[in-house]
Every structure is written in structure tokens, then in C-alpha cells.
Amino acid sequence: MTFVNALIQGIMLGGFYALLACGLSLLFGVMRIINLAHGALAVLGAFLAWAVVDKTGLSPFIALAPILAIMFGVGYALQRGMLERSIRAGELIPLLTTFGLAIVIENVLLATFSPDVRSLGGTAGIVTTMSWRVTRQVSISALGVLILVVAVAVLGGLHLFLTRTRYGRAMRATAQDADTAELVGINSRAVYARAAGIATATAGLAGVFLAIRAVVGPLSGPAQLIFAFEAVVIGGFGSLWGTLVGGLILGVAQTMGALINPQYTNLAGHLVFLAVIAFRSGGILAGREANA
């Protein structure tokens, strides 16, 4: 029964990782860049939400609306002001610039909010404490279910956006061949900026949920980046459904590791990640889905 419990908790934790990773996956899928500031941007979203909740007393779920809009704007501006130039400078430059951006964000947060960790858990209402006890050893938390549902909704929504809307089609076309996309009238710079905006908004969303389910400090970004990165690699880079699967596998691996020994939580996740790299470098869904 503890095994079943670990599996269920792992799936819910995996939902969080998938939510955290989808922006990273989207940016890579569309622009072929790995955004090392993704974790820091998630933490930035969490702190912005904390500031809004602290000032206004609103529920973090309501504060999400302006936060998502702001984070979209941040991503859009980052693309136009910084990433666009660094992509032109060569393949490795975006890694350096986003790494630098992460450091800048961390230090701005440190200077503004102090190194204290914060949580939105106390302000999020009943969802953080509610749970369903299935058996004596298996219980399902409402927050875990909520995050999993949000993750599936965001990934599904992104999938529908990419396949069913004109902006999504333009994004896929640009991802496949930006030069030719221009030749059919697509403004590839605007498409890239929209993609960066969406990716950053989902990072902010994941950051707010991180702050609701746990605590965040200004330096929480890198650890989150690693989990997001592992979820993306396990699922296969650039594939959104792969990212969902990758997140779930990572979550389950961690809770299963914790079952053996709580110290093995992260280790188990890393081992699965390394195993995927060693034996199936294209990701679990390799060859099944060619693009996002």
C-alpha cells in the first residue's frame, strides 16, 4: 500500500514538474534555446505573487491573473531586448546570457526581499489542507490534484493553441523553418517574442504553485531549473506531451526513491534522468512525436 501511495504522490509531484517544465520545453521547441533562467523566472513569479498577496490580501489564485500578464510581458521584452540578440551571436551565447540573467534575477530578489524563504500556502485557503483519505495509508491532497489538473490543462491548452489556432500554426511553421516562415508573411520576431512570453508566463504559474505547496527563497531557482530540465530531457526535448510524461516519471522516481530512503529522493530522479540520457537520448517518446 505504501507503494501505491508513493505512486500516487509521485504522479501529483510529477504534475508540478510538468507544469514547471512546459515553458522550458516550448522555448526549446520553438527557438532551440535552453533557458537557464527558467527556474529564476519561476521564482520571480512566486515573489511577485507574494508581494501582491502581501499588499492586497488577495488569494494567490486571484493574484495569478496580473502575474501571468506581467510575466508574459517580461518574457516578451526579454526576447526582444536580449535573447534575440544573443541567438544571432551563436548557439552557445543564449546559454551564457540566460545564465547571467538568472544571477541578476536572484540578486535583485535578494536585495528586494531579503534571503528569507516565503510561502503562499497560508493564504491559499482550504485547498492546501484538504485531502481525501482513500485507505488508511493512501491519501490524495486537493492541492496535488489541482496542480496536476492545471499542468494537464496548460499542456493540453498549449497543444490546442499550437495545432488549432493561426498563432499556433505560425509558431510551428517558424519553429521548423524561420526563414521560410518569413517568406509566407509570418513575422518571425513577433512569433519568437510571443513564445518567450508564453514560456515565461507558465514559469511564473509554476513558481506560484511552488510557493503554495512549499517555500521559495530568492535562490530556489537553480534546483527548480534542474527538475524542469530533467523532466524535459526524460520526455524528449521539444515535445509537449513528452514533457508531461517526463514530469510524471521524474515525480514517481523521486517518491519511489524516497520510499527506499528519504535521502534518495533527488538521487532517484537524477538516476532515471541519467539512464534516459544513456539509453534513450531522444527521450522516452523518441520517434513518436516529431515536434511540439
Binding site: R166, E182, L183, S188
Partner: protein, 242 residues
């Protein structure tokens, strides 16, 4: 007034100057064949007109407006469409989606998915197929259809028959005849000289980046074009000088 004016155009690939001081005009309704040997600069010239390659010097005017500095997508909105060499379809998009992305330009005109399907009937059963899984001829039809979806006033066709089976080439040219008959303005790059002479109203011949011969098809002798094509005229001149 000419639809397109290319004035003293220089285009470089790094140190290599692919197009040198090229000037010509294209009037509304003309079909111009751009001919020349491999490496003469034809593709580069078309790409510069379409905006995917920024020229190093000179001017490009379209409908009287200077578009030299305009980005490629703006030129599409203005009415210039290029069918690039090698088709360059979006491989993971379906035939229909390839057409749809271009249709978002929303210029008014006769072309939409239905009229493209009428003009290229081979595409009809392939609507939901990924472009990567098409044959060369099907891809070319899809690529031309995609360019038409933007309802261009000037259609640039780069090597439409390259790498296609002879049957497929026939099919593509049959559809082109309909376009030309419909009064579209076209610049086409074609390796096959006799085919170019059949469809074009005017010939522009390039050699090593320069425009070496230009004129209406009915007033140029075939030998004259062949000589310009291979640069024989100049070789003979050099012989005489020597």
C-alpha cells in the same frame, strides 16, 4: 509604371559577390524567365527581391515604393511571394496547414484553399498528409500553392522543375500556364532553356552575377541566349583580342 524595379543591385555572400550591379524592370502581367548557369546568381537575386537576403547596395522598388530595407514578411504583405528553391515546405505541417499559414496574410485576391486545390488537383486527396511525406511533384505543387495563398502581385519561382520526375514537371507547368494565362506577374528561374522560352514573354540572362542579356523572347535568337548563358560571346571576344 513598372511593378518591380531593380536598380544597381549588389548582393554578397560574405566576401563572394553573387549579384553585381543588376538593374531591370518587370511590368504588370509579364512572365520573365531568369536564366543562367549554376552559380550565376539567379537564386540570390530572387532571394534579395523576396527579402530573405539583404542586398549590399542598390535599390528594389515595388509598386513605386522602396522596399530595399523591408523585411521578407512585410514584402509578402505588400504582394511579393517566393517559391524557394528546394520547396522548403514546413515538413511537420500538413498540406492544408502549409497553405493555411500563408493564407493568414489575408490579402484580397482569387486564391484560397479551394481555388488552390482546383489549380493543383493532386493536392486534393493529400490535405491531411504531412508535407514531409509528399513526393517531389506534390511538394512543388504545395509550395506554389502556398505562395499563391498570399495572393501575390509578383510571384517569384525558383527552380520549380529541379529534382522532379518529368511527369511531375509537366504537371507543374500545366498549372503555371493557367497562372500565366490569368495575367499574373511572374519571374521564374529555370535551368531548362527550352521550357523557359516556352512560357516566358521576356528573358533575363545572368552570368557570374551580372546581367548579360535581356529582351523579349520573340526577338532573341536561341543561339544568342545560349551564348550569353555560357558566356561564349565574351570568350570569343577574348579570343579576338588575343
Amino acid at each position: 509604371m513598372s511593378l518591380l524595379v531593380v536598380d544597381d543591385l549588389d548582393v554578397r555572400h560574405g566576401l563572394l559577390q553573387a549579384v553585381r550591379k543588376v538593374s531591370f524592370e518587370v511590368g504588370e502581367g509579364e512572365t520573365v524567365a531568369l536564366v543562367g548557369a549554376n552559380g550565376a546568381g539567379k537564386t540570390t537575386l530572387l532571394r534579395a527581391i523576396a527579402g530573405s537576403h539583404k542586398p549590399a547596395g542598390g535599390r528594389i522598388m515595388f509598386e513605386g515604393a522602396d522596399i530595399t530595407g523591408a523585411s521578407a514578411h512585410r514584402r509578402v504583405h505588400a504582394g511579393v511571394a517566393l517559391v524557394p528553391e528546394g520547396r522548403r515546405l514546413f515538413p511537420e505541417l500538413t498540406v492544408e496547414e502549409n497553405l493555411m499559414v500563408a493564407g493568414e496574410v489575408r490579402r484580397s485576391g482569387p486564391w484560397n484553399i479551394d481555388t488552390v486545390m482546383e489549380a493543383f488537383p493532386i493536392l486534393k486527396p493529400l490535405r491531411k498528409k504531412r508535407a514531409a511525406n509528399l513526393s517531389g511533384g506534390e511538394q512543388q505543387a504545395n509550395a506554389i500553392g502556398r505562395a499563391l495563398m498570399t495572393n501575390p502581385r509578383l510571384l517569384l519561382l525558383d527552380e520549380v522543375s529541379l529534382g522532379l520526375a518529368p511527369v511531375a514537371v509537366e504537371g507543374v507547368y500545366r498549372s503555371l500556364h493557367t497562372l500565366i494565362g490569368g495575367g499574373s506577374t511572374i519571374i521564374l528561374v529555370e535551368q531548362d532553356l527550352s521550357r523557359a522560352l516556352k512560357v516566358a514573354t521576356r528573358i533575363i540572362c545572368m552570368l557570374e552575377g551580372r546581367l548579360v542579356l535581356e529582351g523579349p523572347v520573340d526577338r532573341l535568337a536561341r543561339r544568342e541566349i545560349t551564348e550569353a548563358y555560357f558566356g561564349l560571346g565574351r570568350a570569343r571576344l577574348q579570343e579576338v583580342e588575343a
